[in-house]
Amino acid sequence: MKINNKKIAQDIEKDFKERLEFIKFWANYVKTHSDKDWSEQQNLLINSQLI
């Protein structure tokens, strides 16, 4: 198997930048929607890990 480590590193970097953009998008959603709205969505994630 030929592994292009340089491309993998570039892809990881691109993915991280895209993740930071999503975090900006989600923080803006939290700012512009009711606390009830965003917390119900977040709770699906949190409660599924704990219950």
Binding site: F16, R19, L20, I23, K24, W26, A27, N28, V30, K31, S34, D35, K36, W38, S39, E40, Q42, N43, L45, I46, N47, Q49, L50, I51
Partner: protein, 196 residues
């Protein structure tokens, strides 16, 4: 959600998660503490979960620790490290100890005594979060951002993301001179550029 920097207060009307209920129930047993690290981002909507919550407590003598120990253990919680308070008191001087609801190791509270300047700063500059008629005390947002960037320096992107979430959420109301000073003090200018 409303942040009042001059009052050091944030009002939140979120639906509490199971993690929030755990944190509230435990923190209601404490006289003095500050919540730091991942949970500070999560309570404000960061889209991830955690199996532990970091808590800082001022140093105390053994009598005070034992009284707190008894209160914790009579309130449905247990220490995951030891059942002997003397041993727990020795351990907590060296490393964190963990408490959870009895028989349920997840989630757990990572209990640390305040030791260094970063922790002292977090405690002295804590914010009050009012939600659902409950009160929780969290680290200052500026220190939370700088500290998470410092942790992210070791390559853990989750910490950079936590810092980004807090920054984006509160950037219009942050104390920017204080934030920049902390960025300088913790040597995270490069990491700060990633989230600005």
């Amino acid at each position: 959600m409303e942040y009042y920097p001059e009052k050091k207060e944030i009002k939140l009307n979120r639906v509490p998660s199971e993690l929030d209920k755990f944190v509230i129930d435990f923190c209601n047993l404490l006289d003095s503490y500050v919540l730091v690290s991942g949970y500070v981002s999560i309570i404000f909507g960061r889209s991830r979960a955690t199996e532990d919550v970091d808590l800082l407590i001022p140093k105390m003598n053994f009598d005070s620790f034992k009284n707190l120990w008894k209160k914790i253990h009579s309130s449905g919680f247990e220490c995951l490290n030891t059942s002997i308070p003397e041993d727990a008191f020795e351990m907590v001087k060296e490393h964190n100890i963990r408490f959870s609801r009895i028989g349920k190791p997840l989630p757990n509270m990572e209990f640390k005594l305040i030791e260094d300047e970063i922790q002292e700063y977090s405690f002295k500059n804590k914010l009050k979060v009012l939600f659902n008629k409950q009160t929780l005390y969290i680290s200052s947002l500026e220190m939370q951002i700088a500290y998470k960037l410092m942790l992210g320096r070791s390559g853990n992107k989750k910490d950079i993301e936590d810092a980004k979430h807090i920054y984006e959420l509160f950037k219009e109301k942050l104390n920017n001179p204080e934030l920049l000073k902390l960025i300088e003090d913790l040597d995270v200018k490069k990491e700060f550029k990633l989230i600005k």
